[in-house]
């Protein structure tokens, strides 16, 4: 299950897509404390609803109905429409390998609790001292772990990076990851 967008103010109309929705009585949870009740799905694969008026923040987004409970790895950031969402302006280096430190420069980063979602791994709770820079180390899990002969040619993948925090979701920037 995933939403059509990942941030927005209260009242924004979004659609979540997935499978296993019932025609009526789906409950869409924003974390454990807030929910949209009695949501309907015309095809069992999508639900359209408005973001409720709840405090701004990054919420786990999931659905419960008579068939059970969806995955909880999706999210939605409710914004206040005033605080700027994070923005990535540059990423260095543009080519990295396991163990490299990657630095993002931009704005709107929070002092704690920044989540970096990359195409290969999610890195959580990254602090930003000044709100304009974030650094993380490319984890071992981000690339192949098996032994490759030294004579074998190398390949790289474009890894896209997004920053998520209580203020919203950033634009994406990419770097090449060798494996």
């Amino acid at each position: 299950m995933f939403p059509s967008q990942y941030s927005g103010i209260a009242g924004t109309t979004i659609t979540i897509s997935g499978a296993g929705f019932t025609s009526t009585n789906n409950t869409i949870y924003f974390g454990e404390h807030y929910a949209v009740e009695k949501a309907s799905s015309w095809n069992g694969q999508s639900i359209t609803f408005n973001i409720p008026s709840i405090p701004k923040g990054n919420y786990s987004l999931y659905v419960k109905n008579a068939r059970g409970e969806s995955n909880k790895d999706s999210f939605f950031v409710v914004t206040d429409g005033v605080t700027p969402e994070p923005k990535i302006e540059s990423i260095t280096p543009t080519s990295a390998t396991r163990g490299s430190t990657v630095t993002l420069v931009g704005s709107g980063f929070t002092a704690t609790g920044n989540i970096i979602r990359t195409g290969a791994v999610i890195v959580e709770n990254i602090p930003s001292v000044n709100g304009t820079a974030l650094s993380f180390v490319v984890p071992e899990a981000m690339t192949a772990t098996s032994t490759v002969p030294a004579s074998s040619k190398k390949a790289s993948l474009p890894v896209w990076v997004y920053v998520v925090n209580e203020n919203g979701v950033s634009n994406g920037k990419s770097f090449d990851l060798g494996f």
Binding site: F2, A19, R117, T118, A120, V148, S152, G172
Partner: protein, 135 residues
Amino acid sequence: MKYMKFLNFIKRHAIIMSSLFVLLLIVTSFGLKVVSTNAIMPFGGKIQKVTYCTCSLNLAIMVGPPGPGVFTYEPGASTIKAFYQIFRPGPWVLGSYTPGGVCTSWYICGMYPCCLPDMTTPPPIGTISEAGTSM
């Protein structure tokens, strides 16, 4: 004599006859069955597993229902669109693929390394042409 008359008729009406011939070709072409060798098929679902194919230097991506299968991502050939989250399990992916794909990795065969079909993932059924993902 009749043959000569027919030839003269053709010469006098060459433009009309050639136009009719071209029109006939166009009309009949709609009835031909065309078999494509590069069929593009849709797929989509939640990414369940990603395997780095260390020899073929691509990735095998296992996708769950509703459009499941194992598909290879070929750097430089497969086009990925926002949110580009295709290299880890969790996000949903929707896209198209062409049948056929290989995922081989390095193994030790006796004393030497050798390149074999990856043993940790089922054989791919296709190669991703283009795909978009959730975050």
